[in-house]
Amino acid sequence: MFNNKFNVDEKRILITGASSGIGRETAIVLSNLGASLIICGRDENRLKEVQTNLINKEKHILFVGDLTDDAILNNLLSITDGLDGVVLSAGIVKTLPIKFLNKDEIQNIMSTNFEAPILLCQKLLKNKKINKGGSIVFLSSISGVLKAEMGNGVYAASKGALNAICKVIALEVASQKIRANSLCPGMVFSPLTQNGLKSISAGQLAKHQSLYPLGYGTPEDVAYCISYLLSDASKWMTGASIILDGGFSIN
């Protein structure tokens, strides 16, 4: 019988940033594909709303808390074991021209977008919470990897940093047959980008979208690529940065 390696139905997956946007949609897609999930987010009500949209509710665990807090990170670690996959999708954005940067803004974005996922990853690996053959997926961005946008300096820096460290992690975990890849989406409509778009007019937005041969993406478009990276179908892929941008970067 054909062994469908695209399956993720026996897998246990931890998702950060699961209460909204790409993380939320990834949780919904993976639950429909049969995976067992630990969904993490800061907002309990939003996380519960996501839970109502999951299939096989009894298979999943909700974890509410801010992962930039060490104590909360340790709590998460204590309820976590035997992971086959980790999706690090928690992230924030703030549009700020370089001239208006300050320490707090830099620290705020770097802490959520870079430090928190790396420290979670560090603790999961050190405590052997990820199974052999497991897959780590970092949500990076084309911003800071391939492209630059005015006002997005620290966000781009945080995503570029994630993309860089992902490759080092990939090397360090390869001996355990664990894989680490980063996914670099272009513009995806989500609460995160909606917030960033407040500083862009409708005219500028339409012009920007016209640069995407396939139009802007949806969280679901990204979720299916994540599912592939979590599945054994991608078992030879590690240290890769996957560009998922509807053709924006080739245009």
């Binding site: 549009t95 021209p97 001239k99 005015m150 006002g151 407040k198 500083s199 007019s201 409708a202």
Partner: protein
């Protein structure tokens, strides 16, 4: 909130300070107006007045005073 201060702070967002810039100036017609100046204006309002000015707000404004009035209104209800 003082109109003269706001006008000065607004003018500083252009790469080259406009020669002529007052409450009645149509800010889009000033040389050097760009999307980055718009982003900088939004960031200045956030930093100095602690309210959120959006692209939609800018869209309904023509003069410097129009923007000042929106910021003033937001400051008063903040």
């Amino acid at each position: 909130m003082i109109l003269d201060d706001f006008i000065k702070k607004f003018a500083l967002q252009y790469d080259d300070m406009p020669n002529f810039f007052n409450a009645d100036t149509n800010f889009r017609e000033v040389d050097g107006w760009s999307s980055l100046v718009a982003l900088s204006l939004i960031a200045m309002v956030d930093e100095d007045y602690h309210v959120e000015l959006t692209a939609d707000d800018l869209g309904v404004c023509t003069t410097v005073k129009d923007i000042y009035n929106i910021v003033l209104k937001k400051v008063s209800i903040a």
